[in-house]
Symmetry: C2
Subunit: 219 residues, 2 copies
């Protein structure tokens, strides 16, 4: 029984990592699509979301199966519950990548646009957070998870700068408001990807240390 559950947990770990890898790829492609205004890449991102959705459902079913058949306790139980939540967050990150890609497609006829340089900076940070939160899940590494958490403020700071630039851009040329608001949506989505990576990191800390760190920053 014990060895059975170990095998199940290993298998679940591989699967959540596979979902994570797909999501990571969707995010990095959606960002490339923004930077290069590459509509065909954006379309590929949108098409790949279905596979992520399917895998999310499979991972959830696997978690339920493990809970029902192996009735894990202690660390194993915490791992399965953490995976249930992380799985959910990864799928939502995939949706955000899809939304970013949609905006790129909507910008197809928008003519030349000055991309605020901070978009690239915040995207690089957010991608790093996603990569590191996944490594933290697989290695059960709370130190790495805490590092992810700490990066979130830097993303928010960049986001505020982009927002300011876009507002100034709209004031200077209100005819461009439609396109500039789409860029604004893109940066909001990137910010939310970083938020979700932070959620995942907090679930890892909980999983390893049994300590619920969410909402701590507010207190």
């Amino acid at each position: 029984m014990t060895r059975h559950i170990e095998r199940q947990i290993e298998h679940l770990k591989e699967r959540i990592l596979r979902v994570g890898t797909l999501v990571e790829e969707a995010i990095s492609r959606s960002i490339s699509a923004v930077i290069n205004r590459d509509v065909s890449l954006a379309q590929r991102v949108m098409a790949s979301d279905e596979a992520i959705d399917r895998m999310e459902v499979e991972v959830e079913e696997e978690c339920l199966k493990i809970l029902a058949l192996y009735q894990p306790v202690a660390a194993d139980l915490r791992f399965v519950v953490a995976v249930l939540k992380i799985n959910n967050d990864l799928e939502r990150m995939g949706d955000l990548a899809k939304n970013i890609a949609k905006r790129v497609a909507q910008l197809e006829d928008a003519g030349p646009l000055d991309l605020p340089p901070e978009i690239r900076t915040m995207a690089t940070l957010a991608e790093e957070m996603v990569r590191e939160c996944l490594a933290a899940v697989v290695d059960g590494d709370p130190v790495l998870a805490r590092r992810v958490r700490e990066q979130d403020d830097a993303v928010d700071a960049q986001r505020q700068r982009v927002r300011k630039r876009l507002l100034d851009g709209i004031k200077a040329g209100p005819d461009r408001v439609e396109a500039l608001l789409r860029l604004n949506s893109i940066t909001k989505h990137i910010e939310r990807i970083a938020d979700m990576a932070t959620n995942v990191a907090e679930d890892v800390i909980y999983m390893v240390e049994g300590e619920i760190v969410r909402h701590r920053a507010d207190e």
Copy 2:
């Protein structure tokens, strides 16, 4: 043992309903604060978020306790797993209410603003969806849950109209861009509350029928 777990499940149901009631109240207050530009009500909403966060953590701990001590199977297991996810979504709805309230506070010095009438319509729809998805959780009612799901498109349609109005407003008076973008954020948050209510409704359908309906609309 059986009677013990029944009692635990009943207790969990009461608790998730209590979280839901607090969230529902935060949402409806945040909307009132928007409509009446009531900054002091907005501040009360922001302050109430801490209680929601605390209750979310308690509900999650209770779910883990039930899984570890009572090792539920079948319908009970599905209920506990659904509550884990619903709890998460409710907490995020609470955050959205807080974000709406923040925007109201930021609009304090914005002078008179024409509130697009669709904001009220979409808020009413979203509030109804939240109320009904909670009732669906407590009664395990998939018919009601499906009704919630169907309302989401109406919210999205209203959202598109508000967006159009705000874009026109910005073009007509680019000096007002800051305030109009805050209104735009508010409507996005309302839209996301409706999305979360849809997630909860889908979890209820899964809980009752064991069928994962998420992502179906995409297929």
